[in-house]
């Protein structure tokens, strides 16, 4: 039984569910604060020290609000899509090593990188379903945009994720992360740059935030949502952002691994992991702040004409230089 309790603790508390939630709220706060400072604003200041628990307050507030389900919606899907999307994002997170191992005690299997990316795609699909089931024109347009954008940007994302796997010679996330004595960011920087670009599109951030361009499609797929369901939809989006950054950390920044000057490695690895995630989020926020939003046709053109060919090229380059690069790491 003791083993089961430990397992339950790892999945539900640390580094599983509770930790993911905490990290999400924290990253959300950092994101808002950083973006605000970059935009010459204050950001949250009121709730908690320097507004630190504002994301939690927002979440709790939404939970308490009236939950309206419009008659015209496709009931069941409309109800469950936000929660399912959120669950799949969190589920995907459980496969990422945080304190040196992942939440399910490294009971990972060969190829869980593909599994994680698939889970992310499914979760994204539920975001689309939430808009599609709203039967509101704005939601429908927003959902259609999510789908078009994700379908096209998933391809370069998968191609780019293959490069670290190739360099590590392994398809498991933990193995890729632990094989980076020198982070792949330094060995194959071009892949990382492209990966971040694809990630911006996956996370619907500027210059690719067409699905929720409020001046064009109001709230996008969120338009009809209120109360609890909106809270979960927003939380799902936040987890998605952290998850995206976390995947980038695992694939390119050496995962949670880093120097352990003293004491327990669990604490240090968690610290390194959090700091690296924050670093990726900073980069992503910076990009968000310096770009205007593209039009949906420009977003798609940017993918098919630039990002996808470049990704394939970068994979070819990584494969070609792979043996030489691998020699460097040893």
């Amino acid at each position: 039984m003791s083993l089961d309790l430990g397992f339950a603790f790892r999945v539900l508390v640390f580094p599983g569910f509770a930790f993911v939630l905490l990290l999400t709220m924290f990253c959300d706060w950092v994101e808002r604060k950083v973006e605000a400072r970059m935009q010459n604003r204050m950001g949250p200041t009121y709730t908690g020290p320097a507004g630190a628990i504002q994301p939690l307050a927002d979440f709790v507030k939404l939970l308490a609000k009236e939950d309206v389900i419009p008659v015209e919606t496709r009931g069941a899907i409309f109800r469950v899509a936000p929660v399912l999307s959120f669950s799949f994002f969190v589920f995907a997170f459980l496969f990422l090593p945080v304190d040196g191992a992942n939440a399910i005690q490294n009971s990972n299997f060969e190829g869980d990188l593909i599994f994680v990316l698939t889970l992310v795609s499914i979760a994204n699909f539920f975001l689309f379903l939430s808009g599609w089931s709203s039967t509101n024109p704005y939601s429908a347009v927003g959902a259609a945009r999510v789908l078009t954008q994700l379908l096209s940007y998933d391809i370069p994302l998968f191609v780019l994720a293959a490069a670290p796997a190739f360099l590590a010679g392994d398809l498991s996330v933990a193995a890729i992360a632990s094989s980076q004595d020198i982070p792949f960011l330094l060995l194959a920087p071009w892949t990382f740059v492209l990966f971040v670009a694809a990630l911006q599109a996956e996370l619907e951030k500027d210059p690719f935030d067409v699905p929720d361009a409020e001046t064009e499609v109001v709230g996008g797929y969120e338009t009809e949502y209120t109360g609890r369901r909106l809270a979960f939809l927003k939380l799902a989006k936040d987890v998605q952002a952290v998850l995206g950054a976390a995947i980038a950390v695992e694939l390119f920044l050496g995962g949670p691994y880093g120097p352990v000057p003293f004491g327990s490695s669990t604490l240090w690895y968690t610290l390194w992991f959090t700091l690296k995630v924050l670093a990726v989020i900073m980069v992503s926020e910076y990009l968000t702040c310096v770009f205007a939003r593209l039009r949906i046709d420009q977003v798609l053109a940017a993918n098919w004409r630039a990002l996808l060919p470049l990704s394939v090229l970068s994979l070819v380059a990584t494969v070609a230089l792979g043996s030489w690069i691998r020699r460097l790491t040893r």
Partner: protein
């Protein structure tokens, strides 16, 4: 009569012959010609043929008791010529001039709504301003209209501004507004789209019409200053300046030089404020929120200056009949100069962004193109016209306040796209800063106002001001009492809104908010 006026008078004599009833001036320098009913088209055509840049400034309707007078204010390169004609009130009908000047469409619809004149041959004679359930046969601007609680009925015979459901099943209607995040103010634009491409646009305004023209007739001239100031909060000083100029023309009063300079100062501050507001808003519309936040924060500097000058941040209540209401203190001058030099530096930074930022250019270059010909045909004004290469600026064409003495350039761009319209405004801010610096350095001494009488003699005058959004037009008629007989206000957005139909057509639906914002629409002005 000046040389230019004599030329135009001679032109009318030649072209119209016996159809002219009377030629005269509204006020010195403003020619009018009264023609027999039906001959107004010949007069308009003659003017258009003699001046390629001529366009309709405004169409004023006036209730004379048993007839309705129509005044076509046609702007030429240097002045405004008024063509007046009368139609009997019982059967108020006249030929439309929309085939000669397509930009007259909204002007005629407005007069049809408010004064009940039917325009024969109008392409789209639907209601524009009055609500769909407004009773038929009740025309608010007629003097005999009983407006106490009109009974609202939805009558089937009134053609509303609604877009009919698509008939061929190919086009889909998408409605922007009256409530939409891209439209901060309530107006509606029904777009018929084929996929992502806009095929047709039907604007409908009037959702927040306040009847200010009618209300002005019930208030004294002094009260009207504060009423017209509220036509639009952003360009409030332009409205007061324009109204006061018209009243001063009827009074024959002249403003002391110091007041002229102070008026120029507040008018230019209005322009900077308005342009910065729009440029930030444009950033928001194209999802460039950093730009939006930056520009709006820097806009605070202008608000501060306006506060030092007038005591208020937005509604200035600064200009009055006979001058201005407050003097400028010497210590404020240096404060303003310091603030402006910072602002100038910031504007240089924003100009570099608009010139160089790739994503911003992708969203604005070659988007919403309005050709020079269309700009003239649709009678657009201000930065929209100048962005399409029409060199038109009331400050230069017909200098008012102190503009005649101040050196500055009229900014034009020839591209005609959204980007050009934004660039016009950026460059105009730089020009405005120069103008303000000139004003501060060359401020004449002396009184800042003269006392004007409360009662205004019978007479009429028109007045034009280059508001931030373009030419602002006022027509004021006095009847010898303290209350005006008629105040006609034609705001720049009212003249520009028709061009949106042209700009949006054939474009991508995602470009609608951005290209619409590039017109700097102000519905508060449109629904005055």
């Amino acid at each position: 009569m000046s040389h230019a006026e004599q030329e135009i008078a001679a032109l009318f004599d030649r072209e119209l012959g016996g159809k002219i009833l009377r030629t005269g001036t509204l006020q010195p320098g403003k020619l009018f010609v009264r023609v027999v009913a039906g001959a107004h088209r010949d007069a308009v055509r003659a003017l258009l043929e003699s001046d390629g840049d001529a366009g309709l400034s405004a169409l004023t309707g006036l209730d004379l008791g048993n007839a309705i007078e129509l005044m076509y204010h046609i702007r030429t390169r240097k002045t405004v010529v008024t063509i007046r004609t009368e139609v009997p009130k019982g059967s108020a009908e006249i030929e439309s001039i929309t085939d000669l000047i397509p930009g007259a469409e909204f002007h005629e619809r407005e007069v049809a709504d408010l004064l009940g004149v039917k325009f024969r041959g109008h392409p789209n004679p639907k209601r524009l301003i009055l609500p769909d359930d407004w009773p038929e046969g009740l025309f608010p601007l007629r003097k005999d209209a009983k407006l106490a609680a009109p009974e609202m009925t939805r009558s089937a015979s009134v053609s509303s501004g609604d877009v009919q459901p698509p008939d061929d099943g190919k086009l889909v209607s998408i409605v922007f507004g009256p409530q939409h995040p891209a439209l901060i103010e309530p107006e509606r634009f029904s777009l018929k789209v084929d996929g992502e491409i806009v095929e047709e646009v039907e604007p409908r305004i009037g959702y927040v019409h306040r009847g200010i023209e009618k209300a002005a007739e019930k208030r004294t001239y002094l009260q009207d200053i504060y009423l017209v100031e509220r036509v639009c909060g952003i360009c409030n000083a332009c409205h007061t300046a324009c109204f006061c100029q018209a009243v001063e023309a009827i009074l024959g009063a002249s403003v002391p030089p110091r007041a002229s300079y102070l008026r120029t100062l507040i008018l230019e501050l209005n322009r900077i404020h308005s342009h910065m507001l729009l440029l930030g808003h444009a950033g928001f519309e194209i999802g460039y929120e950093t730009l939006f936040q930056y520009i709006w924060r820097d806009r605070e500097r202008v608000m501060d200056i306006v506060e030092w000058l007038t005591g208020n941040r937005v509604i200035a209540s600064f200009i009055t009949i006979g001058g201005v209401r407050r003097d400028l203190q010497d210590e404020t001058v240096s404060k303003i100069k310091r603030e402006l030099s910072t602002l100038e530096e910031r504007m240089g930074f924003y100009r570099r962004i608009f010139e160089n930022d790739a994503t911003l250019k992708m969203r604005t270059k070659n988007v919403g193109v309005l050709s020079r010909e269309d700009a003239l045909k649709l009678c657009v004004v201000g930065p929209v016209a100048r962005g399409s290469g029409v060199k038109m600026d009331v400050r230069k064409d017909e200098p008012y306040a102190a503009y005649g003495e101040i050196p500055f350039n009229v900014v034009t761009y020839s591209e005609g796209d959204s980007w050009a319209r934004f660039m016009v405004r950026l460059d105009e801010i730089a020009e405005s800063i120069k103008i303000i610096n000139y004003v501060l350095e060359n401020l004449p001494s002396g009184p800042y106002r003269v006392r004007a009488p409360r009662t205004v003699p019978a007479g009429e005058a028109i007045s034009r001001v280059e508001a931030p959004r373009g030419e602002l037009f006022y027509y004021v008629k006095g009847n010898g009492t303290a209350y005006p007989e008629r105040v006609k206000i034609r705001t720049p957005t009212f003249a520009n809104i028709l061009s949106f139909v042209r700009i949006a057509k054939g474009g991508n639906i995602a470009d609608v908010p951005a290209s619409f914002a590039s017109l700097d629409p102000c519905f508060s002005c449109t629904d005055r």
